[in-house]
């Protein structure tokens, strides 16, 4: 008998089957990984379990008895709790208030927080989930926020715990302790569904693993006896090489030089950037690593000219560009793959062709006497489509909005690389993409580097950082705390830098 069994679930959306006869069986006391690429149907499946979607076919069983889940409240009654990828916490409430929220004990309408506090403290001690109950959520670290989410489930005495991509925002150390916590909870008889696309973590934490691909359940395997390669092959549907084939870097002269860059925060807040100095040379990929929100975005905005700076100097190819306009920087040979492709990277209502010329529409290649050369633009877009294998329904006339995320990213990548830049700044270029697109983008970045360009990559994915970079800069709270060689640094060490526990003396 299974604690939770979802049997034969089929869920269709117009034009696509998100879940096609999917069966998942969760045993009591196990950690069960749910593996799949973006768009494989993991979230749909979990939404069905929480009653957010109604499946066309299939049913859900709890302890062998069929149950009907019509909404999240039903799910809570069944003892199902979830830690969402993006935490659902009230920022100006304290940790304690957040944990109690929605399940408050009251006496004649007055909150009884004392009992709640004791219960929370006891839980926190018992499971080693260190928290600070009286701090407001906005002032605590991401790791602690996640512990608050876990305690929320434990406070409600949930038996079935779902973790949706829980490690995406954590340092290696935090990941380790999260996995220990999960294992402790499972040993107590709670059952855990662990949604992820990271194979290492599955090997480390899970007992069994179910793999989804394009809405279909490919199979459930024992993690112990299945290799990582086999898992990834199940996930992607073909053999995947897990390591990049990378030549040694052939470093040339300095392209970007940043000196004592400082950006003040809003009044009463810490500096966004403090005294940041570094350089990037021809033929190397320099990676800025760090946990989200430690100043990477501000750094990129300052380098690319989207925002101004307070003090410091940015120079490119020996020219001071501290105050240069965005377009001047572009003309000097700076290309930028922005963090948010919908916010900055694309005009979603423009066609692919119009997006392809976004940075160069004003050049003689694409306009004459103020009139756009439509034929030339279409032709140019077609060559990019061909060269970068961009898939779009109506070719160069496809509206960018209607393209898939991977292909949108390819348009940006193609546009920026084709400017033949001296410096390519790529910010989380693989976020939200599946394995195939990630491989493609990595190979393109390496191609740029091998062609003697300088590449500055900002990434939150440690694996990406370690695999692709020639040098790693770690950012913590707006400062660069380490400048290390990926060949001689370990994940653990990086984690210490990222969490501020350690810093290099001479950065």
């Amino acid at each position: 008998m299974y604690v939770i069994e979802m049997r034969g679930i089929t869920k269709e959306f117009p034009g696509i089957i998100a879940n096609d006869d999917v069966t998942v069986q969760l045993k009591k006391g196990e950690i069960h990984a749910l593996l799949g690429e973006n768009g494989a149907g993991k979230s749909t499946l979990m939404s069905i379990l929480f009653g957010l979607y109604k499946p066309e076919k299939g049913s859900i069983f709890k302890d062998g008895a069929e149950v009907v889940v019509n909404g999240p409240n039903d799910a809570t009654k069944l003892g199902i709790g979830m830690v969402h990828q993006h935490f659902k916490l009230v920022h100006n409430f304290t940790v304690l208030e957040n944990i109690v929220l929605g399940d408050e004990t009251t006496h004649r309408g007055v909150l009884q927080m004392k009992a709640a506090r004791e219960k929370v403290l006891a839980l926190s001690k018992r499971y080693g989930l260190e928290i600070d109950v009286d701090k407001e959520v906005q002032d605590i670290s991401v790791g602690m926020q996640q512990r608050v989410e876990i305690l929320k489930m434990l406070y409600r005495e949930n038996e079935i715990l779902i973790f949706d991509e829980p490690t995406a925002v954590l340092t290696p150390q935090e990941i380790e302790s999260l996995i220990q916590t999960m294992q402790g909870l499972a040993a107590e008889g709670r059952s855990i569904l662990f949604i992820t696309h990271k194979l290492d973590e599955i090997k480390q934490a899970a007992n069994r693993c179910s793999v989804l691909r394009k809405g279909k359940m490919i199979g459930t395997v024992e993690v112990e006896t299945t290799s990582k390669e086999a898992l990834s092959e199940m996930m992607v549907g073909r053999k995947v090489s897990l390591s990049l084939d990378k030549k040694d870097a052939n470093v040339g002269k300095e392209i970007l030089h940043v000196k004592n860059l400082t950006i003040k925060g809003e009044t009463g807040h810490k500096n966004k950037l403090t005294d940041v100095s570094f350089h990037v040379r021809e033929g190397e990929i320099v990676c800025v690593a760090g946990i989200e929100g430690n100043g990477q975005t501000d750094l990129v905005y300052a380098l690319t000219g989207l925002n101004g700076i307070e003090s410091g100097q940015v120079s490119m190819m020996g020219q001071d560009i501290t105050k240069a306009k965005i377009r001047q920087r572009g003309e000097l040979g700076m290309a930028h793959i922005p963090e948010d492709r919908h916010k900055h990277g694309l005009v979603l209502d423009y066609t692919l062709a119009y997006n392809a010329i976004l940075q160069r529409y004003y050049t003689p290649q694409f306009q004459r006497a103020g009139f756009l050369k439509q034929g030339e633009i279409t032709h140019y877009a077609d060559t990019l489509i061909e060269r970068f294998d961009i898939r779009a329904g109506q070719g160069s006339e496809t509206i960018a909005r209607s393209m898939s995320g991977g292909n949108q990213q390819k348009v940006i990548l193609a546009r920026e690389i084709d400017r033949d830049p001296h410096l390519l700044i790529a910010v989380q270029p693989t976020r939200g993409l599946d394995v195939g697109a990630i491989e493609f983008i990595h190979s393109q970045l390496l191609k740029q580097r091998d062609a003697g360009k300088a590449v500055l990559l900002v990434s939150l994915e440690l694996e990406e950082v370690m695999n692709i970079s020639d040098r790693i800069l770690v950012m913590y709270e707006g400062e660069i705390v380490a400048n290390v060689d990926p060949k001689s640094v370990t994940y653990q060490e990086l984690g210490l830098y990222m969490s501020g526990a350690k810093r290099e003396v001479n950065v």
Binding site: T304, K343, G370, Q374, R391, S402, V435, E439
Partner: protein, 386 residues
């Protein structure tokens, strides 16, 4: 040619025309219901008049073209701003200002020969409209004041300022309005009035203004669709962040866009009161009708300059019907209700349209993702070549 067809398909022009058409039918239907409620014996003849009046005689068609002229221009004003992401609700004020300056020059600048005076007054109308539009533009670009708020303010300031200036410059006490612009300083008729004349050889009020309005619509269409400047403006309108990322100065574009928009409304005001049809600017404390109708025209024309020409003609057509229903004992405001309902349904149609395209998009997204997974082996081969 193929690209143009694709563009039409991509922009969902068919869907736009369809949804506008449905909105018009719904508006007329509700107009009929109101007519029936008011006086069911006269409702059908009155309704028939609304439907047919514009085409009932050649002269009526001329009148239709005449009254369409200003609202096509205010419609262009609103529609152009909308394309660039701004809601210019200030067309009324810009229209009034343009009109005043045009009339002022027409009446007072007697030292300039009439035909040149006409050109000067029209250009001045554009310029003043543009300057009046620039105020909300500057406030938006540099002080982040929402243009709707500042446009409402400039509308009222405009009305009272113009009233004050009329009283002090070109006021005709006997008629409580401005003096008349002498005939030869008005827009030339180009024989259009005689072309669209009535049975008793009475010419209609149509003049060269309508030709100017249509020409301007075509110019705006070309600017938006085919020029570098239009590319920049639309990029700002669709996604200001991406425009900034592309090195486009979004502040400059906001100001320019509001100026062009204001200039179009000002031109509308100038042409309307230089029509030679004998109308003059009254001193009232209501906002100009033409400015607000521009919003309806732009909405109905889906902000497309060519669509706006037809939307302007349609609204003018309905207005004429409104005048005519008075013969049947109805108030002309019925037509305002019909127009309002049409606008409501236009908004609904927009909602429905965006809903459908979102569903389509989601589908396309997922399908494309599946496609992407299919394409993977090809990349692998590429990788193994190395």
């Amino acid at each position: 040619m193929k690209t143009i067809i694709n563009k039409v398909k991509g922009s969902g022009a068919g869907l736009s025309i369809l949804s506008s058409g449905i909105a018009v039918l719904a508006g007329l239907l509700i107009g009929l219901i109101i007519l029936l409620i008011t006086d069911h014996t006269q409702a059908f003849p009155a309704f028939q008049t609304i439907i047919t009046v514009g085409f009932s005689s050649i002269r009526n068609f001329g009148e239709l073209l005449y009254s369409a002229t200003p609202i096509i221009l205010t419609g262009l004003s609103v529609g152009f701003a909308m394309k660039t992401g701004l809601f210019n609700i200030g067309a009324s004020g810009q229209f009034t200002f343009g009109a005043y300056v045009a009339v002022l020059i027409g009446v007072r600048a007697e030292f300039i020969p009439p035909s040149i005076r006409l050109i000067v007054s029209v250009l001045a109308a554009i310029l003043v409209g543009a300057l009046w539009g620039a105020i909300p533009g500057f406030l938006k670009a540099f002080r982040n004041v929402h243009e709707v708020i500042s446009c409402i303010m400039t509308n009222w300031i405009g009305i009272f300022l113009v009233n004050f200036m009329i009283l002090n410059t070109i006021f005709d006490e006997t008629r409580n309005s401005t003096m008349r612009v002498p005939g030869d300083a008005n827009m030339p008729g180009w024989g259009l009035g005689e072309l669209f004349q009535g049975a008793n050889a009475r010419p209609s009020s149509v003049n060269s203004g309508i030709v100017v309005a249509i020409a301007v619509a075509i110019i705006i269409f070309i600017i938006l669709g085919y020029t570098k400047f239009g590319y920049e403006l639309k990029a700002c309108g669709f996604n200001q962040n991406a425009a900034k990322y592309a090195g486009i100065s979004e502040k400059r574009n906001v100001v320019l866009s509001m100026m062009i928009s204001g200039g179009l409304a000002g031109l509308g005001g100038g042409l309307h009161f230089l029509s030679g049809a004998g109308i003059t600017m009254n001193v009232t404390d209501t906002l100009s009708y033409e400015g607000f109708t521009g919003i309806s025209v732009a909405l109905l024309g889906m902000n497309n300059p060519i669509g706006i020409i037809f939307a302007g003609l349609l609204i003018a057509y309905l207005q004429q019907g409104g005048f005519q229903v008075q013969h049947f004992g109805f108030v002309p405001e019925i037509i305002e209700i019909v127009t309002a309902v049409i606008i409501y349904f236009c908004a609904f149609a927009l909602l429905i349209k965006s809903f459908f395209s979102r569903v389509g998009r989601k589908r396309a997204d997922v399908v494309a993702e599946v496609e992407q997974v299919k394409e993977l082996p090809k990349i692998e081969e590429e990788g193994s070549d190395k």
